[in-house]
């Protein structure tokens, strides 16, 4: 028996540096999103849809994947997934400002409709859950070619009621494909709560019906999410097939900048969410284990804010695509 019990991150094989890097990405995700709200409220950009409350789920998940190697068909809240996959804050801001150099769409799509070809982040749309099938197809094609990749895909718990969710999980289950399906359950599909959305109350429980593990994990707990994804990733790579991971998150903001959650959530409920803020939880862990102190935190915050400022200024100064770009890229061009 060991004299001292290993800390949770050590047991997962994570160094202090890796843990700090994860926290950096959580903070970067939060601060970029906060800036987007300011820009939206200030009339500089038309729209925001927010990952606040899902940072631990996204960063914990993303760290289990291999950058520029594994494939991602994310959903619209997956800002953190994109950042860890290698999308830069400048590129995120180019999308938010709908500038011509936006790598996701050149300003054609609304913000948070991700896409970055060199990083294997597939272009997404607004109809929910279509991307789950794309992840299955990617995994199917990779297997045909003998490539060792794992596909990440994600949706919200509301979307998990769509037919494509069922079709995707079933197909992946039949063929034991290397796909990890994540459901970020923030308890609301815009305004409709979980009990009016998901019969049985558990998305994870549905995994069994598709012949795969259905794992429920505290989505505000960075290390718990990372542990679940690490296991699922190893499972996928070793040919054991797909996993379904339901991360129980919170939604701190309204659904989007066009929504006001005070119309359907009580002020007590909205207040109570703040205690479950995944950033605070991760921060407490770092302090508790002596990985972060006040001076380091100050430095980290300054570094993140400098990146956010740089990205904002850069993107705002960039031009829109010329209007005639409207006519481009319908079919392959000669």
């Amino acid at each position: 028996m060991e004299a001292t019990t290993k800390a949770r991150h050590e047991a997962l094989g994570l160094s202090r540096e890796q843990l700090l890097e994860m926290y950096y990405y959580m903070l970067l995700t939060r601060r970029i999103d906060e800036r987007l709200w300011l820009l939206q409220r200030g009339g500089k950009i038309p729209f925001v849809i927010s990952p606040q409350g899902a940072e631990a789920a996204q960063i914990g998940a993303a760290f289990a994947f291999r950058r520029k190697h594994d494939w991602f068909t994310p959903y619209y809240r997956d800002l953190g997934i994109n950042l860890v996959a290698g999308v830069t804050p400048r590129e995120i801001m180019l999308g938010a400002f709908a500038r011509g150099a936006d790598p996701a769409s050149g300003g054609k799509q609304m913000p948070s409709h991700w896409g970055n070809r060199p990083l294997n982040v597939v272009s997404g749309s607004s109809p929910v859950t279509t991307q789950l099938l794309h992840a299955v197809g990617i995994a199917q094609a990779a297997r045909m070619r003998g490539d060792d990749i794992v596909a990440y895909t994600c949706c919200g718990e509301g979307s998990s009621n769509q037919g494509d969710f069922h079709e995707a999980l079933n197909w992946a289950g039949v063929h034991k494909l290397p796909v990890i399906f994540m459901v970020q359950n923030n308890e609301y599909a815009i305004s409709v709560p979980l009990d009016r959305q998901v019969a049985g109350g558990s998305v994870a429980a549905r995994g069994k019906g598709y012949g795969m593990p259905g794992i429920e994990v505290d989505g505000t707990d960075l290390l718990a999410v990372y542990a679940a994804f690490k296991t699922a990733h190893e499972r996928a790579r070793s040919g054991q097939g797909p996993s379904l991971i339901e991360a129980k998150c919170v939604r701190i903001t309204s659904h989007s900048s066009d929504d006001d959650q005070r119309r359907y959530r009580s002020s007590e409920e909205i207040e109570a969410i703040k205690a479950k803020d995944p950033i605070l939880k991760a921060r407490a862990y770092l302090y508790e284990h002596g990985i972060l102190d006040e001076a380091q935190e100050k430095e980290l915050e300054a570094r993140v804010m400098a990146e956010v400022d740089d990205a904002t200024d850069y993107a705002e100064s960039q031009p829109y695509a010329v209007p005639e770009q409207t006519l481009r890229h319908v079919y392959k061009e000669d």
């Binding site: 769409s105 990617i138 319908v330 061009e333």
Partner: protein, 327 residues
């Protein structure tokens, strides 16, 4: 040169393309050991195995959605929808995803895939095994829509579709699968997508059509010739993009145009073709543009007399062609 029917031409083209390119694979319901409900993939399972000739679960949205993912990865899926009537669960994947992928990613992501589906009536298929669905797709830029009428065209067009860098819907009239035979070269060739074909030259009237009604119109044209009128028959072959040049040239040649299709009339291909003619060569016309189409009812009834009433025929085509010729 072999004499093949249309479904054999489809099958031999799939075989040739799969031999030519390891990234080409087939996926759909019952396409494996059974070889498809119409036999379009018969024997391919034995040659290429269960991965490249893959039986899918009974899920049309997934057949297309998985196909899109596989195309994004770089392979070239040929998805089979068992009957065109069942394509609607996949409508979202086709319209929201396949058609828009290149556009929305500013050219970064592309979906080189083919979706094959047998369509059309006259086979006692009732409402849900008879529909002509092409018009639901032809107003969606980003897609290509192809309908062959002969085995020769089927081979050249399907080969072109599989090698195309964009998503192609390939609709095969099931009433032609075994009804039409023709010489098909064993050598490799493609027919460019977007090019119509003059199936019969003539100087008195122009008939513009595609699919099974090409054969009705050709048969009617032979009869009309005996009555002293020569009909030009233009087979569109590709419905999206339309061959505007060929349409205008054919219309100008005779000044009298009849458009024929089995799909419904309202907001149909005929409406677009006649609008092109009105825009480009109205003053070359000697008669109002005519349309002979399927009736504007939800779908084709099952009982024989009603099915016959719905379907076009050489006789119905002849009547419309004769009326126009005498105008």
């Amino acid at each position: 040169m072999a004499v093949l029917n249309l479904v054999e031409a489809v099958r031999e083209t799939l075989r040739a393309e799969m031999r030519r390119d390891r990234d080409v694979w087939v996926v759909g319901e019952d396409v494996g050991k059974k070889g498809g409900v119409f036999g379009a993939t018969l024997g391919l399972f034995d040659e290429f195995g269960p991965e490249r000739v893959q039986d899918s679960p009974l899920t049309e949205s997934a057949i297309v959605g998985v196909g899109i993912g596989a195309a994004l990865y770089g392979t070239k899926p040929v998805c089979e929808i068992q009957f065109a009537d069942f394509i609607f669960p996949a409508f979202n994947q086709i319209i929201s995803e396949a058609a828009k992928m290149r556009y929305r990613s500013n050219g970064a992501w592309t979906v080189p895939m083919v979706i094959r589906a047998p369509f059309g009536g006259g086979v006692h298929g009732g409402l849900y095994h008879s529909q002509s669905v092409e018009q639901y797709f032809t107003n969606t830029a980003g897609l290509k829509v192809v309908v062959p009428s002969t085995p020769y065209d089927a081979k050249g067009l399907l080969a072109a579709a599989i090698r195309d860098p964009d998503p192609v819907l390939f609709f095969e009239h099931k009433g032609l699968y075994r009804a039409v035979k023709g010489e098909v070269p064993e050598t490799d060739y493609i027919i460019p997508i977007g090019k119509a074909d003059l199936k019969r030259d003539g100087s008195d009237i122009t008939v513009i059509t595609y699919g099974k009604t090409v054969h009705f119109c050709l048969e009617a044209a032979n009869q009309l010739a005996r009555e002293g009128y020569e009909a030009l028959v233009l087979d569109l072959r590709t419905l999206l993009p339309l061959d505007r040049e060929a349409i205008v040239a054919a219309a100008k040649k005779t000044g009298k145009v009849l458009i024929v299709h089995e799909a419904g009339k309202t907001h149909g291909i005929g409406a677009e073709v006649s609008a092109i003619i009105a825009e480009e060569c109205l003053f070359d016309l000697d008669a109002p543009v005519q349309r002979l189409c399927g009736p504007d009812v939800p779908a084709m009834p099952y009982a024989g007399p009603m099915e016959k009433f719905f379907m076009l025929s050489p006789e119905k085509c002849l009547e419309a062609m004769r009326t126009l010729a005498k105008f």
